[in-house]
Symmetry: C2
């Protein structure tokens, strides 16, 4: 088998563009010098556009989970009551973090594979009046669901002053995010998904309303105390040594996103979703999620005729193609294709052509080429948006 | 359009594997020191296997054409008579080089798109007894023809003592090459084709019989005087400053070829050819060359319903996909797909899926997915050889 070749189509970490790889290989610089300040000045305003906010987007060295924890530890006090909307494994992670801090959690569970309904959240909140924060997941990576985050705050505000805290890890940068317009109070994402970087940076933005809550909270920990990051970012620096090579890469990623145009980035991701879903529909292989709830960045496939884990081994061995399996209750039942970040329509066609072969090899009697052809037709129909 | 992404499927230069890219980024070393000698010692015996020879494979800093010129200037004297078998543009280059040195050239022209017939060469040689060298092209890049080099020397030897000089630029490293067994006297290749490197190195091996001719030739020029390279290689060094980063890369390329196994490398290339040809046959689009004469490394397609140059622009703009056009008399009539070096079956499937879309966009009413499906079927039938 051709050495040195892997096709990484899991929902993060995602492939790194060559120019970003090169940028990350730049020589190290002093983290308290002018060069680093210039780098941060170059990055700052461009992150605002990705988040759709006028607030500072704080840059923290840590993985996505450190961002979820930072939201909890800064904006919620022990003994506060919070509502966590759980639509999959990453909603459940918010629960675990809150419980680790003695926060009283009300779980709102949604069937895995479905999005939450903001009106139902509103109705549920009427029954628990003392909620200080509502936690939600934008893209639920474990199920390939994109929740209607844009409608959440408006629904909540009619019945509660709770802060709206959103895990945007597996989609921000790949899908439209209007934090200010949608009245999100805290939005978190990580570097290793639509941001096309290795894991290691976490980005978090905070509304004025949430800053008031944070400043009134005396117990914000140390490393994840967001006020430190805000104060330092105002001076174009960071409170602790930043992961500089990732900042070199981030600057280049923002160049790439600017050159493509954010609107084009978002329509590319929507097109990739349509192509992937269209292919499996043509092959008559069930998807976990309906069209309305489906994420632009990750698609969960629920084949009923093959051993999913065996199939994943087959395509990994055969082509070096990695797709993700199911998590927890979906383990062994689904596989998940990541189509975010450095992923083109041609990459999706290639992934589908390998998957079709793997399905045959795993005993699923599909018609070869049928899924690829469906994706090609969708591309041709929508491709004018891509060019 | 997604930035920073290009699909390079021309018959060279070819894409560089990531580990080779990394190897080439190693810090520079002194070219007369021990490290360089160790590097050359690591490379030497492994190049022999690729060439199928016990002779030294000389490493020269230059492009493939410098190798063709080295063969001419070392092994042929002015006023000598030579036979050049011209099966396309690169056969013609041998003619130009010979003429630049005042060598008397007999051209043996073969219709472009067809391979030469060794028995016909033998018959032709009977009519011109004083030939001192026969020049041939292994893979004729301009037409996608692979000539029967393995049968050439045996046919020639029955009627002539002429040296057999072969341009192996666009296939050695990707197809079986048994220089000693096939009695080739001089074999040349370049780094930017099946060797998965940038252009800049040329490899040339010489039989004992040809060395005798070379040593008796007083006018071998200076930079391309092969005896200098031979004498220096014996001491694990080079006569002139070598392109060291390409040597770093070459060492890694040889690692990759070893890990895959040369036999597997060759069967992969044969499989890629079958997949590409099977796809166009399924789409009912003519190929320039018949099955018997077709190269494992490049395929020339001769569509009759589209403007080829317009089609090439469409796929370049649409996907960043580069395929080559036709040269000279084939300009505007064919396009050529390179499938050598760092190219997997999945890459061929991807290329075909893009080409199908480009054909539709160029007005060729093919059935989408049909070529991909044919290639998938061929893969499944032959894939056991690939794994």
């Amino acid at each position: 088998m051709l050495q040195d070749q892997q096709y990484l189509r899991i929902p993060g970490p995602t492939p790194i563009p060559p120019s970003v790889q090169r940028a990350m290989a730049k020589p190290m610089i002093g983290h308290r010098g002018n060069e680093t300040s210039e780098l941060i000045r170059s990055i700052k305003p461009r992150l605002n556009k990705v988040f759709g906010t006028k607030q500072d987007v704080l840059i923290v060295t840590g993985s996505g989970t450190s961002g979820l924890e930072a939201a909890v530890v800064n904006a919620v006090k022990p003994l506060d009551e919070v509502l966590v909307i759980v639509t999959g494994a990453f909603g459940a992670r918010f629960v675990n973090i809150c419980e680790a801090y003695g926060i009283r959690v009300h779980k709102y569970e949604v069937e895995w594979g479905k999005a939450f309904n903001p009106i139902e959240i509103q109705q549920h909140l009427r029954t628990i009046p003392k909620i200080s924060a509502v936690f939600a997941t934008y893209c639920e990576t474990s199920t390939g669901v994109m929740n209607p985050i844009h409608e959440l705050a408006a629904a909540v505000k009619e019945v509660s002053d709770a802060l709206i805290i959103v895990d945007g890890v597996s989609c921000v940068g790949g899908v439209e995010t209007k934090m200010d317009e949608w009245a999100i109070d805290i939005m978190v994402t990580g570097s290793q998904k639509a941001f096309m970087l290795p894991a290691g940076l976490m980005f978090i933005a905070v509304s004025e309303r949430a800053w008031d809550v944070i400043h009134s909270n005396p117990n914000r920990g140390f490393y994840l105390d967001l006020s430190k990051y805000r104060d330092n970012l105002a001076k174009d620096t960071t409170p602790f040594t930043p992961a500089l090579s990732l900042l070199f890469g981030l600057d280049q990623v923002l160049d790439l996103l600017e050159k493509e145009g954010l609107e084009n980035v978002y329509s590319r991701h929507a097109l990739l979703k349509e192509m992937v879903r269209g292919a499996f529909k043509a092959l008559d292989i069930p998807l976990l999620t309906n069209d309305e709830d489906a994420s632009d960045t990750v698609t969960a496939v629920r084949p009923d005729e093959i051993d999913v884990e065996q199939f994943r081994k087959v395509i990994k061995k055969e082509f070096g193609l990695s797709v993700a399996g199911g998590q927890e209750r979906l383990k062994g039942k689904i596989f998940r294709i990541g189509h975010m970040g450095y992923c083109s329509p041609a990459d999706v066609l290639q992934t589908l052509s390998m998957i079709e072969i793997g399905l045959i090899q795993s005993g699923n009697e599909i018609e070869l080429g049928k899924g690829v052809a469906a994706a090609q037709r969708i591309y041709l129909k929508n491709g004018a948006n891509y060019r």
